[in-house]
């Protein structure tokens, strides 16, 4: 069981890495709003359609 003396510290390093990744995600605002980002895709495409429609009547879109 001597391998435990290597594996357990290794697992602790992994946990620390996991914590760091989570901290980074929280600090960059990824957990601030868990509800509305789900709607982003829908609204973005609707907005894009709207712009395309208005664009096609007035001229080519970029």
């Amino acid at each position: 069981m001597d391998i435990l003396f290597v594996l357990i510290p290794l697992s602790l390093v992994l946990v620390a890495g996991g914590c760091w990744a989570f901290f980074w995600a929280v600090d960059s605002g990824q957990f601030d709003d868990l509800d509305s980002p789900g709607w982003d895709a829908i609204e973005a495409s609707e907005a894009a359609t709207a712009v395309n429609l208005s664009g096609s009547s007035s001229g080519p879109t970029v």
Partner: protein, 827 residues
């Protein structure tokens, strides 16, 4: 007086940081010492004032600089009346302010803040709500206590923020992020430690013994993992307990922290001494569940607050003001009464006002809950916060800032949420007493076990401390009330006194007023009779032509009447009397009989009885016609009484109006009991009569005319919006002005009371059953940790059932970064 410990001249006396040009001076006894900030000054003077000034002579290291020294300097700015005016609400006798308090964790914290603030001279009323993290403070008008209040709260270790729009969301965000991080650390740590603990437990189950070297190794690793869990994830509890100790109060976190620290110290000692039990698994699991509970509590708190905040955040930051012949962009708060603003299509009305040009449709859903846009014309009032869904309008500002209907609604909602009902105050007191008993009992249990079985004494003491924390008990009622208040606000019903919900659940008789309650207060033309030489239709058309250009409510009754080609010229409106105009060379008057009679030289002796509901039309020769006007019934008035009957409540109509009008309304609303021509005194007598017959009476009125009757009823409800809100003396206000909502509100109140009851019974049962079991040693510390946290979670989840399942996802977000970006990229 020791030279070595007194700070050097360029360093702060308290924290030894550089003074950096600070002019702050602390009075320590008879000496003046330079300090770097108002925070150090206050702390130093507080220490000196409590007779502990010797501390400065004896200390060997400088004191920690109080946190957030910069914001303490900012509070100095609140002394300035101009700055304070943005937050302080002026009343006739008292001023008040709403504060958001960060780090406010439990009802013990709320109690501590209440007690400390009440001790400040001139502070009249303090209401702190732990569930909402908010405080409402009132003080005698004209005594500027604002900055003193902020300081007092900060000294206790909390961060107060006066409520403005963006601070709320920023504070929420910071609270949520730091809570999430603590939760993550606790989760990972708990998993790791449990892994090592399970190895030991499974060995024990198989009656084996783990290898001694390996066991020592596991314990050391568990210790290393537990340190960040306890001192990072558990830091809020430890800090709170420390604050409790410092102020000699008893809070939830004191018993929790005592248990955690005792367990940690004993386990650490046993780890290094290589003997006895360790409790690292219990510690990490307890911290994990506590952080989980607090995180859920935080989410509930933010969610219930989001309604009020959605309202508060709704005003646009800028407005288009008309200056001479051009339009300038100004900040909304710079608008003054009398300014003219342009509200373009699709934007939000920045202040209350009257339309001076244009006709449009407005979405007032935020104020009233009414989802359909309403039409507003020149002369109509518009409320700030409404969205202009039609054409651009020009508005003359009539109310700004704190006086707008939006502000009134928000303030009322906040006041109601911060007001602590008697039931909760009683629960808080009970919880505080219970905590003291638990702390003493835990030591008693420990002593008893030392005689019986010393090996189990420590585990039993820990279990008692953990299992008996009455967290669930003290959040039982506030959680239910906060959830239902938020839910009702979303339906357009504001609860101004949460106690009322409890009474409302017992109501078995509802009295309705007629005018302005069941009827809209709008006028409609009921009947007309020709009295002179002209035909009915001709008289009606002439009347319509005269009223065409008038903005008076009565004119609205003639709005849809065809004018048959008649055009009135030289129209003059005489306020309070009527309208005069010329049609085809003949002068006509329409209005009250006396006004019309004077046109033909008659001094008023007509055959018609003068009544508010009758107007007449006449010319210089004769009286032409009379018109009978009546109120329009609200769209859903007819549903109110049948709905109430379906839940077993009697409805009654009491009105000051004439019998015919009241009978019509009663018939159309299906109200079986009604009385007409009741004076306020008679209405009052009727309420008392019902009450002495054992009924619990709710009165629904318009909130202004029938204030005394509303006051006498067990629960009062009022229809109202806008300026009327500020003076309405009712327990509940129907901003959506829907009489049919009464039954729904009563149902919600009944559910709230039922849920609060369930919560109380559950938590009390849990505490009283678990305590003896723990004392007798049947519950190990880690089971106690699960039990205590589960009971709190149960109570919170149960209360959440009152909230609707889905948030209105978009209501709080004015602009959308992603969509905006996409639009820019595509345009």
């Amino acid at each position: 007086m020791n030279a070595a410990t007194t700070a050097a001249p360029h360093l702060c006396f308290h924290c030894n940081e550089p003074l950096a040009g600070s002019k702050f001076v602390a009075q320590i006894g008879d000496r003046s010492e330079s300090v770097c900030c108002i925070g150090c000054k206050t702390v130093a003077e507080m220490i000196a004032a409590t007779g502990l000034a010797d501390y400065y002579a004896r200390r060997t290291t400088p004191s920690p600089r109080p946190p957030d020294a910069t914001s303490k300097e900012a509070w100095q700015a609140y002394v300035d009346p101009v700055v304070a005016a943005d937050f302080v609400r002026k009343g006739p006798n008292s001023d008040s302010v709403d504060l958001l308090i960060e780090n406010l964790r439990c009802s013990a914290c709320a109690w501590l803040i209440e007690r400390t603030l009440s001790a400040i001279p001139n502070v009249a009323d303090v209401q702190v709500n732990a569930a909402l993290g908010r405080a409402h403070v009132e003080w005698t008008a004209g005594t500027a206590r604002f900055e003193a209040i902020m300081n007092a709260i900060a000294q206790l270790g909390y961060d107060p923020h006066p409520v403005t729009n963006e601070t709320t969301s920023r504070v929420y965000c910071r609270e949520r992020r730091s809570m999430l991080k603590r939760f993550i650390v606790a989760t990972f740590g708990m998993m790791q430690v449990m892994m090592f603990a399970v190895a030991g437990y499974s060995a024990e189950l198989n009656a084996e013994r783990i290898d001694a070297t390996l066991e020592h190794y596991f314990r050391l690793v568990s210790l290393i993992v537990t340190v960040p869990v306890l001192f990072y994830a558990g830091k809020p509890f430890l800090l709170n307990a420390w604050n409790n100790l410092r102020t000699r109060t008893v809070g939830m976190d004191l018993s929790v922290s005592t248990a955690l620290l005792l367990a940690f110290l004993a386990s650490t000692w046993n780890t290094f001494a290589q003997r006895g039990d360790v409790y690292f698994d219990s510690i990490t699991m307890f911290v994990f569940f506590l952080t989980l509970t607090r995180f859920v509590e935080l989410s509930v708190r933010h969610r219930t607050n989001s309604v009020a905040d959605a309202l508060a955040q709704h005003l646009p930051a800028t407005a288009q003001r008309v200056a001479g012949d051009k339009i300038e962009m100004v900040a909304s708060h710079q608008l003054r009464v009398g300014d003219e603003v342009i509200v373009p299509s699709g934007s939000v009305v920045p202040a209350d006002g009257t339309i001076i040009h244009g006709t449009t449709t407005l979405n007032e859903s935020l104020l009233s809950g009414e989802s359909l846009p309403v039409t507003r014309r020149t002369g109509d009032d518009v409320a700030s916060g409404s969205i202009n869904t039609g054409a651009p309008i020009r508005v003359c500002v009539t109310a700004i800032g704190k006086n707008t209907s939006l502000s009134n609604i928000v303030a009322m909602l906040r006041r109601a949420q911060a007001h602590k009902p008697l039931a909760i105050q009683a629960a808080d007191r009970a919880a505080a007493i219970f905590l003291r008993v638990v702390l003493i009992a835990s030591f008693g249990v420990c002593a008893a076990w030392l005689f019986i079985d010393p090996a189990r004494a420590f585990a039993a003491k820990l279990a008692v401390l953990v299992v008996a924390c009455p967290c669930a008990f003290s959040i039982a009622t506030p959680a239910a009330l906060a959830a239902s208040t938020a839910q009702l606000a979303r339906e357009g019903v504001l609860v101004t006194r949460p106690d009322a919900l409890e009474t409302l659940a017992r109501v078995d008789h509802v009295i309705f007023d007629k005018t302005g309650t069941l009827t809209r207060g709008d006028i409609q033309l009921d009947d007309y009779t020709a009295l002179g030489s002209r035909s009915d239709d001709e008289c009606l058309a002439i009347a319509a032509a005269l009223e065409q250009s008038s903005a008076h409510p009565i004119a609205a009754a003639f709005k849809h009447v065809p004018t048959n080609g008649f055009v009135a010229a030289d129209v003059v409106t005489v306020p309070g009397f009527g309208v005069e105009g010329t049609i085809a060379g003949t002068r006509y008057r329409i209005g009250i009989p006396a006004f019309v009679a004077t046109l033909r030289g008659d001094s008023g002796g007509t055959s018609l009885e003068r009544s508010d509901r009758t107007i007449v039309l006449g010319n210089e020769q004769e009286l032409l016609a009379s018109f009978i006007l009546s109120d329009v019934l609200r769209d859903d008035s007819s549903e109110a009484a049948p709905q109430l009957r379906s839940i077993g409540i009697d409805a009654e109509l009491l009105s000051g109006d004439g019998l015919a009008a009241v009978a019509t309304v009663a018939r159309r609303c299906d109200i079986r009991t009604f009385s007409a021509r009741r004076s306020p005194a008679q209405k009052l007598a009727r309420v008392h009569e019902l009450q002495s017959a054992g009924k619990t009476v709710a009165m629904v009125g318009d909130g202004i005319n029938d204030a005394p009757v509303l006051g006498a009823a067990n629960v009062s409800m009022a229809m109202g919006r806008g300026a009327a809100l500020a003076i309405a003396a009712a327990d509940l206000i129907f901003v959506a002005e829907r009489p049919s909502a009464v039954a729904g509100v009563i149902r919600t109140a009944r559910r709230t009371v039922r849920l609060a009851g369930q919560n109380l019974v559950w938590s009390a049962t849990y505490n009283f059953c678990a305590l003896p079991l723990a004392a007798l040693g049947f519950i190990s510390p880690w089971v106690a940790a699960i039990g205590m946290s589960a009971s709190s979670l149960f109570v919170l989840m149960n209360s959440l059932r009152l909230l609707p399942h889905k948030e209105p996802a978009r209501s709080t977000r004015a602009s959308h970064p992603f969509t905006d970006g996409a639009l820019k990229a595509l345009a």
